[in-house]
């Protein structure tokens, strides 16, 4: 059914795809597709080696979102244009969040869990986040600051009251508004009890947020880690002690699903285009986006009049 069929595969180096002469599509003039006889996919493990090879002209086509190239790479590719002969095209990402963070609402420590489930706590942290600075530093003044939504390309944002709902959601807890954030934290009882300059739990015990991410060779310097550092700085300004914390990739997701990891900070919502296609981000149906709430391995039973089913 597809335009090319796999001819050769050498894990993890490359795969070679050969034209399928029986492909079912023609162009509007009746020419049989696909046009290219052979496609070679090259896999390069080290992102820096990959960048060098691209700059040296060893690639014909690269999809930035797929291989981790960002706006930060534009200058390097453009300056080596004579070597690589590459044109740079820009496309909308359709991202609803950019680099995002979410808390483990089923964190094993009850005190933290209750705090993460308190809307005013998360709203205060969102209001404290200096997204304007992140936009400048990470996204080269592109895109629009957002509290965090589903993709703005989602069809439900484009019909009826959709555009208004999108804007309301996008701006719902958009800061930076440190004064309002501090007031909201005060309302939740998260105040500095012992005078050390950091806010504590309402019972006086120490509060410390860990911004966790999958560690590994590709993590350092990524937009996620840079965002985490900016987030930590913003939260420290309202008195929340915050650390950025790489965790070994092996076992990370299981620990997350078991409620042992506090935050997920290296993800992003790009999904639409029609909400029911991928409901996971907004409703607990998978433990990657929502840990135990979703029930590991599938949704938990919904209560009914006779108990649960």
């Amino acid at each position: 059914m597809t335009g090319w069929k796999l001819r050769e595969y050498k894990n993890p180096v490359y795969s070679v795809w050969e034209r399928n002469p029986y492909y079912w599509c023609v162009d509007k003039w009746g020419n049989q597709l696909p046009f290219a006889d052979r496609v070679i996919w090259t896999n390069i493990q080290d992102p820096q080696v990959m960048r060098v090879q691209i700059q040296q002209g060893k690639a014909d086509y690269c999809d930035g979102s797929f291989i981790g190239l960002t706006l930060a790479d534009v200058a390097g590719i453009r300056s080596s244009r004579s070597q690589n002969d590459l044109n740079i095209l820009y496309r909308d990402s359709g991202s609803g969040t950019g680099s995002a963070l979410y808390f483990n609402l089923d964190y094993h420590d009850e005190k933290y869990r209750d705090l993460f489930r308190e809307p005013r706590f998360q709203q205060a942290l969102s209001l404290a986040y200096d997204r304007d600075n992140a936009r400048k530093v990470i996204y080269y003044d592109q895109g629009e600051p957002t509290t965090g939504t589903l993709s703005p390309k989602c069809i439900q944002f484009h019909v009826g009251p959709g555009p208004r709902i999108y804007e309301r959601w996008r701006k719902s807890f958009l800061g930076p508004n440190l004064e309002r954030a501090r007031n909201m934290l005060d309302e939740t009882g998260v105040v500095d009890k012992n005078g050390d300059g950091w806010r504590d739990f309402p019972d006086g015990s120490k509060l410390e947020i860990s911004i966790d991410y999958h560690g590994g060779s590709q993590a350092g310097g990524s937009e996620y880690v840079r965002k985490d550092e900016l987030l930590a700085k913003s939260w420290q300004q309202i008195g929340i002690k915050t650390n950025v914390n790489p965790i070994p990739t092996t076992g990370y997701d299981d620990s997350w699903a078991a409620g042992k990891i506090m935050t997920m900070s290296d993800q992003e919502i790009g999904d639409g285009p029609d909400y029911p296609l991928y409901p996971n981000w907004l409703v607990p149906v998978s433990n990657f986006e929502w840990p135990r709430c979703a029930g590991n391995g599938g949704r938990c039973a919904t209560p009914t009049r006779s108990g649960s089913r």
């Binding site: 597709l33 696909p34 046009f35 290219a36 002209g57 690639a59 014909d60 086509y61 999809d63 706006l71 790479d73 534009v74 002969d85 590459l86 044109n87 740079i88 095209l89 820009y90 909308d92 990402s93 359709g94 969040t97 950019g98 680099s99 995002a100 979410y102 998360q122 986040y129 990470i138 996204y139 895109g143 629009e144 600051p145 509290t147 939504t149 589903l150 993709s151 439900q156 709902i165 719902s172 807890f173 699903a257 078991a258 409620g259 993800q267 919502i269 790009g270 285009p273 909400y275 991928y278 409901p279 981000w281 907004l282 409703v283 149906v285 709430c293 029930g295 590991n296 919904t302 209560p303």
Partner: protein, 119 residues
């Protein structure tokens, strides 16, 4: 290991556990409606309810910057790769459920000088 394999499961919180997070019940209920409603307008209304729930009770996912641009690198001479202004949505590179670049019809890409790229 004495538990029957069919009854083994990873840690989970169900609706009858004390740790259950009440808003989940509301979200599940709305999603059930979304999946079973055949009238599209009614379905959209339920989806908008989910959006509004997040806008008031969230943020459950804290975002930074929406819809920033992504880059595509195309060697000079590779033709038919659509530009941003040729795409109805101006591109949509980030969803995982739509494969990229499949939606941009790579079957139609061609070299202006095929001989130079044959080996």
């Amino acid at each position: 290991m004495s538990t029957d394999p069919y009854k083994r499961q990873l840690p989970r919180i169900g609706p009858n556990d004390k740790e259950f997070y009440p808003p989940v019940k509301r979200l599940w209920s709305l999603l059930d409606g979304v999946f079973t409603e055949t009238d599209s307008l009614r379905r959209y209304r339920m989806i908008w309810e989910i959006f509004k729930f997040h806008a008031t009770q969230g943020p459950y996912v804290m975002g930074t910057i929406a819809n920033y641009p992504q880059i595509i690198l195309v060697r000079q001479g590779l033709r038919n790769v659509p530009r941003r202004d040729q795409l109805p949505l101006h591109g949509y590179t980030n969803p995982w459920i739509i494969p990229e670049p499949a939606t941009y019809d790579p079957e139609g890409y061609y070299w202006d000088d095929p001989a130079e790229h044959s080996r």
